[in-house]
């Protein structure tokens, strides 16, 4: 780790101001991606602005037909939230599968969404549920927010404050873990809300999270795992590594999608 300055602002306004005026500063939320990267000397921020002191970024509440989760809510907070478990159990179940207990008690939803790791779970939930990412400046729908691996619509100095998830009728997440890292090798989030069907895929695509439109079309006819029988995603544009080549990943997308639909239907 290289030397860096550390700031712990007490308000969002103060945090934003620090981020604006400090060159090469970075925000740290849970730090579960940034700190290991810094330890490996792969990131060299001049300063870290820790959002841990901002109570305004915490909290989980139901607002109308949506669940709104503060950016600094940890994965454990989401997993244990009665509001989430009642309104969107699939989201609480997804949070339970992230990392290990230590990770879940430090890592945050805002940090995960801002990082847009192509093997993280939350981007699938955001895109799958049609979430809106709320920053200190604006509201961004998930389709526009996630812009490819580790890339988002966030501008310089922009800070995520909340994520708003519209409540679905049925939803579920099925994940196939990377055997080593336990990140999502393939994760599929499916959702039905009235006539709206979404199938969001993480881990597999070379451009990060995406919607599998063929599966959505098939499920629109009938929301049943049978509708996806024999379907697998195209191996084009799939990630490939020592754990799973593109063909195997494409196959797993189909398997996980069927299992997610199965779980959603059974709910």
């Amino acid at each position: 780790m290289y030397a860096f300055d550390y700031h712990r602002p007490t308000s969002l306004r103060q945090a934003a101001a620090m981020l604006q005026k400090t060159e090469d500063a970075m925000i740290v939320a849970g730090g579960h991606t940034l700190l290991p990267t810094m330890k490996q000397r792969l990131a060299q921020p001049s300063a870290l602005i820790d959002l841990g002191g901002l109570s305004e970024l915490r909290g989980i509440e139901k607002k109308g037909r949506a669940v709104v989760i503060g950016a600094m809510a940890t994965h454990a907070d989401v997993a244990a939230s009665d509001v989430v478990r009642e309104a969107i159990p699939a989201l609480a179940e997804l949070a339970v599968t992230i990392g290990d207990p230590a990770v879940r008690h430090r890592g945050t939803i805002g940090g995960s969404v801002a990082n847009n790791d192509p093997a993280a779970d939350y981007p699938a939930a955001c895109l799958g549920l049609g979430a809106t990412i709320i920053t200190n400046r604006r509201k961004i729908v998930a389709e526009e927010f996630f812009q490819g691996m580790f890339d988002t619509a966030l501008d310089e100095g922009e800070i995520i404050t909340k994520v708003s998830f519209p409540i679905p009728a049925k939803a579920a997440y099925a994940k196939f873990r990377n055997p080593a890292s336990r990140y999502a090798l393939v994760g599929v989030f499916v959702m039905k809300r009235g006539s709206e069907i979404r199938v969001a895929v993480i881990g597999a695509g070379s451009s990060g999270v995406y919607r599998w439109s063929e599966a959505e079309a098939a499920l629109a006819k009938r929301f049943s795992p049978k509708s996806l029988d024999g379907m697998s995603a195209s191996a084009d544009d799939m990630n490939s590594d020592i754990h799973a080549d593109s063909e195997y990943r494409a196959h797993l997308v189909g398997v996980m999608a069927r299992r997610a639909v199965q779980a959603a239907v059974a709910r």
Partner: protein, 787 residues
């Protein structure tokens, strides 16, 4: 059996401090004025070093020194050694290339040591290391085991075809004759995947030079501190043995990887005098992946010849063993004498011939890792017999039973003389525990769920209790493999045992104390086990090869026997009787045929006060030492049965049942032994399903972190069913065979045999990852549809 004696499941004495974080590991030690070392490592697999310019680094804050291979050479510090000489078939000695602790002219693997930066803090050392300017001229890298000998690039000039040795064992003509008359021949191509040891405590070292005493101390993560001192003194030439103390304090796991004498501790000791400060190095996990000696990495073609009655006639094996970029301390022995002599397995095989070519590649050196050669041999034998049984349509358990060695002692065609065993007893017990009879029903139930179920056997044998010194000397070992012990009885009757064995997770503080309790009748809290310090224990060979029970405890037993003999003499004087009439039982010395007796502690006190005897008749004190050199290897053996259920949609293999029945001879602490079995199986399952060190074509280690190197987790394993059978080892006084490596040796073929049984063909290699299994199943689909 007493509550703390031999055979009692005593809770581990050492766990209180380990579990509460009070262990004292090398990195916990802070020496006055210690500086920190950071090793600049090669980013290239193979390159000439054109130039190293440390000027900018030396100007960085806190930097004390930047040292390179030139500095080592200028000080006359020798290279690292390989302590086991292997001769090729043609009689020529193995081709050992130079192995400097810091590179001299060339780097040969990613992670090779280019320079060391020593600074006030580790962060300063790391910052400065980035400023060391190194100009490399990159060379093509030799990476692949199977094709290394055909490469146009030579890792070492001394071995232009990258061949370290072309070794063989057994009778070629007899084996060829056996195959010529065979009714059936089973052939297999086998890859034994490369593994990274991954002890929970990474390696560490502190070198310290005491100017007033003109002597060095090395604190290090070693399984054998005396061997480390011997090598650093006699071969590397840092300091004479009487001027070098090596301390291995609490050590958090080794699995073999901490046997070896590495560059880092060598440099820390040497540099401590150069900078006039203690020098500490602590490996981070990435460094551990790159620089701890790896394990396994064989490519093998094997053939088994059968007669018309399903009897094994012969075994022929051709193996290429990847030894990495340099010959590590015992690397040459692992794929030779720790491998081929185990190829007879538990079977009566009249003729065996094995050829092993050791090769250099531009990869991390490969050396002993839990099992060391014996897992590789067991995998070859147990895959072959399983496949042979399937090919001739015979039940694999019956095929094994038919070919088991049934009479002992048994001389195999490959050196080993098995002393005792009852292989059918272990098989029977394992079949019962595993409910083999119920397997077909379970398979049908799995099929109903759309799952594939399979069962696989492993009838393993290993050679432990390493080893008779004369025997290993005749095979090329540079050391003897006896063990030493000293039993010091204090005047109050408490006991200190100094042992040359070294505990790094095995629980010696408990098991060795149990032996003392059993023999001397003292309480377990009255016994201290002292190890890991060359200034306390005179000499020892350390812990590896499942030798501490069979060899280390035998030495303690010898010393205890001497203590009892001396105690009898003291008691005889104290009770005014003839020492021939003194009996020792249950912690009391008594005069036969009388009611006169003394407790052990009372006799100890009499030994030290020396009031009842003249110094001319008997020396005061009660302290005895012993060296124990085994007369044979020991031969733990057993049967492991693995049952898997595979999800054909994903290729995920779930181990539903794992049964282990082992014959370890006499067991000191069944709880600790069971723990060793559990850990060994976990590592064996790791090799079979999960772990794999992968290099890309340029020699970069792709799996250099836990993001890509898959360690076994609790969730990957079922609750094991463990059973035991016992045939006491006749060659040592306690009847112990050893248990530390059995699981890692036995498990891999059991798992792969189960998977191949489930998928219906043999086309899968380790590790059987979900992707690999899915591909293996996928390949068979068209064929199955055509049937």
């Amino acid at each position: 059996m007493t509550a703390t004696g031999i055979g009692a499941p005593v809770r581990r004495k050492e766990d209180q401090r380990f579990i509460t974080g009070k262990g004292r590991y090398t990195d916990d030690l802070v020496r006055p004025g210690q500086a920190h070392a950071y090793f600049l490592r090669s980013p290239h697999a193979h390159a000439e070093i054109v130039r190293i310019d440390p000027a900018a680094a030396l100007a960085m804050p806190g930097v004390l020194a930047v040292l390179t291979g030139d500095d080592l050479a200028a000080d006359g510090v020798g290279g690292l050694i390989c302590g086991w000489m292997i001769h090729s078939k043609d009689g020529s000695p193995m081709k050992a290339g130079p192995h400097p602790a810091l590179a001299q002219g060339k780097v040969r693997y990613v992670g090779d040591h280019v320079a060391v930066v020593i600074a006030e803090t580790l962060a300063q050392a790391r910052d400065a290391a980035e400023k060391v300017a190194v100009e490399y001229r990159e060379l093509p890298a030799v990476v692949d085991t199977g094709s290394a000998r055909k490469s146009a690039t030579a890792v070492h000039d001394v071995a232009p075809d990258n061949t370290v040795f072309e070794w063989h064992l057994g009778d070629k003509a007899a084996t060829d004759a056996a195959f010529a008359k065979a009714k059936h021949v089973t052939r297999l191509d086998i890859t034994n995947n490369r593994l990274v040891p991954n002890a929970i405590e990474t390696r560490a070292a502190i070198g310290e030079f005491d100017e007033s005493a003109d002597s060095y101390t090395l604190y290090t993560t070693s399984q054998n501190p005396h061997v480390a001192r011997l090598v650093l003194s006699a071969f590397i030439g840092i300091a004479p043995e009487n001027k070098l103390r090596v301390i291995a304090p609490d050590v958090g796991g080794g699995f073999g990887s901490k046997i070896f004498i590495y560059a880092e501790e060598t440099v820390c000791v040497w540099a401590s005098k150069k900078v006039g400060r203690p020098v500490k190095w602590n490996s981070d996990r990435t460094e551990a992946f790159l620089s701890d000696a790896h394990g396994r990495d064989h490519v093998t073609h094997a053939e088994l010849a059968l007669d018309e009655n399903a009897r094994i006639l012969g075994l022929r094996v051709k193996t290429t063993a990847n030894l990495g970029a340099y010959l590590s301390t015992f690397s040459s022995s692992v794929p030779t004498y720790l491998y081929a002599p185990l190829l007879s397995g538990q079977y009566d095989i009249p003729a065996i011939y094995a050829e092993v070519d050791g090769v250099y590649t531009n990869t991390t050196p490969v050396d002993a890792y839990r099992g060391a050669g014996r897992p590789e041999a067991t995998f070859v034998v147990e895959r072959l017999v399983e496949v042979a049984a399937r090919e001739i349509g015979m039940d694999p358990a019956n095929f094994r039973r038919k070919n088991y060695i049934k009479r002992f002692p048994h001389q195999t065609p490959v050196i080993m003389a098995y002393d005792v065993g009852d292989y059918a007893a272990s098989l029977d017990k394992a079949l019962e525990i595993a409910d083999y009879k119920g397997f077909s029903k379970r398979k049908r139930e799995s099929a109903k769920k759309g799952k594939l179920r399979g069962i696989g056997f492993s009838s393993y044998i290993e050679a432990c209790g390493i080893a008779p010194s004369q025997a290993v000397g005749s095979l090329g070992a540079g050391v003897g493999l006896w063990e030493s012990a000293e039993v010091r009885v204090n005047p109050t009757g408490s006991v200190e045992v100094l042992t040359g064995s070294h505990s790094h997770g095995q629980g010696h503080e408990t098991t060795f104390a149990q032996l003392v309790c059993d023999r001397l009748g003292v309480g377990i809290d009255q016994v201290n086990i002292v190890h890991g310090d060359t200034d306390k224990v005179q000499f020892g060979m350390g812990t590896y090869g499942s030798r501490s029970g069979a060899v280390g405890m035998s030495a303690i037993t010898k010393a205890i026997d001497k203590v009892i003999e001396k105690g009898k003499k003291v008691a005889a004087y104290a009770m005014e009787a003839s020492d021939k009439d003194i009996e020792f039982k249950d912690g009391r010395f008594s005069v036969a045929g009388t009611d006169k007796s003394m407790a052990f502690g009372e006799v100890a006190l009499q030994a030290y006060v020396a009031h009842k005897f003249s110094g001319q008749d008997l020396e005061p004190g009660l302290k005895e030492g012993a060296f124990y050199d085994p007369t044979n290897f020991t031969f733990p053996a057993g049967v492991h049965i693995c049952e898997v259920e595979i999800d054909p949609d994903t290729g995920v293999t779930k181990i539903e049942r794992f049964t282990a029945v082992d014959d370890f001879g006499v067991v000191i602490n069944p709880m600790i032994v069971e723990g060793q079995v559990h850990g060994g199986i976990a590592q064996g399952v790791g090799q079979a399903l999960l772990e794999n060190a992968v290099y890309d074509e340029s020699g970069q280690l792709v799996t250099a972190s836990y993001m890509d190197y898959t360690m076994p987790r609790a969730g990957d394993l079922p609750s094991f069913s463990v059973g035991m059978t016992t045939t006491p080892c006749p060659s040592n006084p306690l009847g112990i065979k050893g248990c530390g490596e059995a699981g890692a040796i036995a498990a891999p073929p059991a798992v792969i045999n189960a998977i191949t049984d489930a998928i219906g063909h043999e086309g899968i290699a380790m590790p059987a990852t979900p992707q690999a299994v899915w591909r293996a199943i996928h390949r068979t689909r068209p064929a199955m549809a055509a049937e």
